[in-house]
Symmetry: D2
Subunit: 393 residues, 4 copies
């Protein structure tokens, strides 16, 4: 038990430090930027993840807890209706105060508070609160990836094309050509057993699959370039109706950050597009149109999970790009949201969104698993999202 406690304390320190390490290369002004209503400033992410520990762990469980500044809850509560009023999401970029220094100071206080709480809580409190600390860490890891996609969207609007990260990107994990076949029949998906999972991954349940094949790797820049060159963005017949409307109303001619000179905008600034690298910053609409053009389709999330969980899974399931599936984000059979405020974490978003599976190069270590269900609206392109093909067997 003391081992579990010290392990949790160590992980808490490590996860918290990683958030700040991600922000470190950015100036206070960078960290203030909000590119669009769906994105948040870096500083806001840092503050929100502090607020989460205050509101979800310390406030209900730590005796004598007092918030660092009670006026800040409304600023940094994201979407928890049950935890009080919230600053309008599109105006997060208007919060120059508290300053970055104040937010970092707040994080220090929350860090100390949680550390003390971990060390001192009695057994009953541990049983009630440690799962929430665990959740808080996974929550913060989600925001670590969002910090990277959101600042990329903001810096992309600057004609100077500044880099969010110094240095050079890591080379891509190698992909493997070809297809992997699976028989039809009953399968099980969803999380079960020990280890953390979000409520939306449960309960583990049986599904019926038809025989299918799934690509061993993601679609590459070179392949996607052929789609573009073949008039992919000009041929309505390849697109879902809403996708074609997006192409026309938003003037899409290629992935979000492709530039005319053959480069793409990355966290390291503009970089040549590597032909063999997985194509990224696609919407679901583009992924589906590409699949149509390629005479294939997107995998369902059950197909994806079944393959990724198999003895010899396809390559690039994790650590490359999130992978659009053909599945809308819906509750699993017998799904129950968590009790309390964190019941708002996942369940209330189960309409209008598409499931992505896997993880990306920006997903923090330890945050990925085969049952993980990421989700975004079908037109979203600012995530590290790519595609893997599937087809009926």
């Amino acid at each position: 038990m003391p081992d579990a406690i010290s392990e949790l304390a160590a992980r808490f320190r490590a996860v918290r430090a990683h958030s700040e390490a991600l922000a470190a290369p950015l100036s206070p002004e960078d960290q203030q930027l909000q590119a669009m209503p769906d994105a948040s400033p870096t500083k806001w992410h840092l503050a929100h993840t502090a607020w989460f520990f205050e509101a979800v762990v310390l406030a209900p469980h730590a005796p004598g807890f007092r918030p660092y500044d009670e006026r800040w809850a409304r600023l940094f509560n994201s979407y928890y209706e049950s935890l009080g009023p919230r600053h309008p999401r599109p105006q997060r970029g208007m919060l120059s105060r508290p300053s970055l220094d104040e937010v970092l100071a707040w994080r220090r206080v929350v860090d100390a508070g949680v550390a003390a709480f971990i060390a001192e809580a009695d057994a009953d409190t541990r049983a009630a609160a440690f799962p929430l600390i665990e959740l808080g860490l996974h929550h913060e890891q989600q925001h670590q990836e969002l910090m990277q996609t959101d600042i990329l969207a903001a810096l992309a609007l600057n004609p100077l094309a500044p880099a969010a990260c110094p240095g050079e990107p890591s080379p891509w994990p190698a992909g493997v050509d070809g297809w992997l076949g699976f028989d039809g029949g009953e399968a099980e998906i969803g999380h079960a057993g020990a280890g953390f999972a979000f409520d939306n991954e449960t309960p583990r349940h049986r599904v019926r699959l038809e025989a299918y094949e799934i690509a061993r790797r993601l679609v590459t820049n070179a392949e996607y370039q052929r789609f573009v060159d073949d008039g992919g963005y000009r041929r309505a017949a390849l697109w879902l109706s809403d996708g074609w409307a997006a192409v026309q109303s938003q003037g899409w001619t290629g992935p979000l950050y492709w530039r005319d000179d053959g480069s793409e905008f990355t966290p390291h600034g503009p970089r040549p597009r590597a032909p063999q690298a997985p194509v990224r910053h696609l919407s679901f609409y583009e992924a589906a149109a590409y699949a149509e053009w390629a005479g294939a389709r997107l995998p369902t999330e059950a197909e994806w999970e079944h393959a990724a969980s198999s003895a010899s899974p396809p390559s690039q399931c994790f650590g490359a790009l999130w992978q659009w599936t053909r599945s809308s984000y819906e509750p699993y059979p017998r799904y129950r949201p968590w009790a309390g405020a964190v019941g708002e974490y996942n369940g209330k978003f189960m309409v209008g969104q598409i499931v992505l599976r896997g993880s990306s190069f920006a997903t923090p270590p330890g945050h990925a698993r085969a049952s993980y269900r990421n989700f975004f609206p079908p037109g979203a392109r600012w995530q590290f999202s790519g595609l893997r093909l599937a087809r009926d067997a």
Copy 2:
């Protein structure tokens, strides 16, 4: 074979006549109205269903066919990219010409053309074209219901609250209280065998169901009134996030056509809300919020179809209201769109929509079946849509 031919000819006459019978009580000015971009004028529906037979049946299959007026294809093509350019959907209400009389004259010519074609086609042509005539009839039946929902939406904007239909509505089919239970296990859904079905109902395939219960009848006005009275439209916790955003941005306080005086706007004009009648003109968001409030949930489309196809199905499956399910509109396993232009009929809309099942009081006779998949965006309220509860067993 001659019987099949004369039967088709008779059905063609009957379906076509029914469209015009529905329009008959409406003035030329009424038939010009377009309440919103998603709705179409009555006259446009009459013209579009004429165009469909011209473009899909006669043009490719009738020797020597000449369009009645070749300029009209662009006016009355709805969304078939492969059949040429289209007048913008939001401006269908701007087409005062051709006049209603001209459209009706056109229908006469198309009627005669299809009748002659049915009578005279050789066997090969019959094999190729009669399924398209069949499709054209089901297509026209779909528009018959839309004619009714669309004119209702238009007349609702007139402070005089005029009636689209003379006379009084039929009394509601009686509902039966209680729940009906089904075991978990594998089941089959989807269309198979003889008889018409849309491509989106196929192929029939196996699904895995968990044990569930489904309500024997639809939720009533009286029940929904209790939800409203209990603050249903003011309690964020009951709503999906997108639903709550709709409540706030659009100021919803009750179903679309509820009026403050206890009446609701119907095709017969304002009428008192019958307490035991199924509540109608709900969005998916409202249906889901009600279910949450009631401690239940919406059925999946597989659950619905499995129950409706059972030996003793629940009441009010057909002929009352379309019933929102908890299922996004997605392709069935191994789904293949029809070949040719009619491949655009269903498949390209398989994102961003929710499946409704059953049929409504306005659905033409012969148009309903257990495998039928209707679909609308989750915020749509102008259809004849209600809800049936389900729960885990």
Copy 3:
């Protein structure tokens, strides 16, 4: 006095009949069309001008008056806050009821009511009410021109390009080349003396003018074509800032109804653009940009009126096109709105609008005068609007 009474009765009959004559070539469906929020359906114009006589003349002055249908006031009150609530302007096109026939029947009843009132009123009532009848007639004449511009805007949205009027347009009044010079000094503008004028034309007052020249005729299609050919719509330097924003956001490349084949859309349908005819359907922004390109400017409204009132006025002051001036629509010194509801007629629009002077080919006979102040927002293009140049002397 009896002569004045019978003269008024005759004019009343003539003006009222003219409205209906303008509408006569249009079908009930045509008369239902509303092209945009700023335009109104033909039927609405017919009904509104009936309502005006009811609300402004008969209701306050005719003993025992009862409205034809008391529910209609809210439908056909345009913008008179003091006369009760109003149907939203953008939804005038949604009023299929009352039907055109009902509106025409109403007009008959109002016609009879006003005729009887004219014949029977005592001297005191005449003194109070006859000026309002006079106003009602001028009001109806304004709507006669709007009926023509509004239906043109609606029919222009129909790819069939139908004609609002049968037959051929009249040839243009001849223009005279050159400039007309006026000395600087004090001048008087505004209406005084007998004869009808709107309140916004009063009081007559002195203004200071600098010496100026004004063109003897309007700018022609041929001249405007040279502006277009010279990159007029691509050169920011020629435009006011708001005008350039309009060019870009709305994609303007020429006057509103110019078509690529050298024709323009007119009340008689598409017609070749006569080179010597005045260019029409310009916004103020375009008029000002053309003037800049031509090394000239637009006249102020005082300059225009001074020239038009002079002994030898320029040609095409009246009966050709309304002429944009460089003057914002503001109250004259010591301006007082009329008393009562009709005080809302003009005064409350005195911001955000530009004055046009003269009259157009569509202005009813007897409705034009040198002091008349027409006004529209600077981006409006659907009126019969052209331009005349001026320059400093």
Copy 4:
């Protein structure tokens, strides 16, 4: 002449230093904020005013000039079409780079460059360029006021209501009750003679005035409170039509920064509203509605200038608040924009705007004069704008 040179050099240093002094209390994050498309970040103002000297003075006139960073012109060019492409105005807040420190470093280089240029230019260059330096200083003074209004608009969106300035506001200059009368007749307005003026203030010219009275002071908070209490924001009859539309669509119930607790948001944070202080942060629409309620009107700009230039002018003409007039912003007779790029400074905005006269407490010393024409759209409320009444004599 050396005196004139050293005087210019000294003024240049003083004006430039004042901009930075205004920004000094603000953090880098504060200086990044853009509240709305019409407002700009503080840092952007600092950079734009550096760019102006580079682009307008040094680039055309200083031998061997090289821009500090040639990529920055597109970021900080405000609206000069002739000086190249521009970053979209609504996205100025997205420019985290260059950083505040980089911008300040740039300003140092520009300061040194202009100082050297002033000291070393030969007589011909002085004649050509010194007027542009003078313009650059007045330009920077305009931005000094905008820096204050723009940051106020941004900080007002923060629920913490932070102060842009430390300390307390200065007390208001005392107002004098009553009216001041002026005879009708010819008067002269506009700038003439020595001393700087913008092109829009010229040429001085004669105008005709009717006899009028003008209030000796501005309308106060206490007076405006009575208007509010009397239903001012609920009575359509008091408002211009566009103003009433703004009240309804934007939900106005009082001046922009009034708070429910009797305070108002100021550069020093929320402060009690002093009853005798001039009411501020009004739109033209509100000013006009108040005047209507008070049985008065707004002065024309000619009336205002004539009064302010008289031997015994009204109080609070300068140093209190900008004062809405009843005049649209139009060119004076024989107005000619400056030659070259700076011709875009004023002339192209002469439509859709209303003139304000005087100056505010935030206007830099030496920047006000009786002929000064400030202008904003009629709905703008974020400026330091109040009102002074006038009436016909």
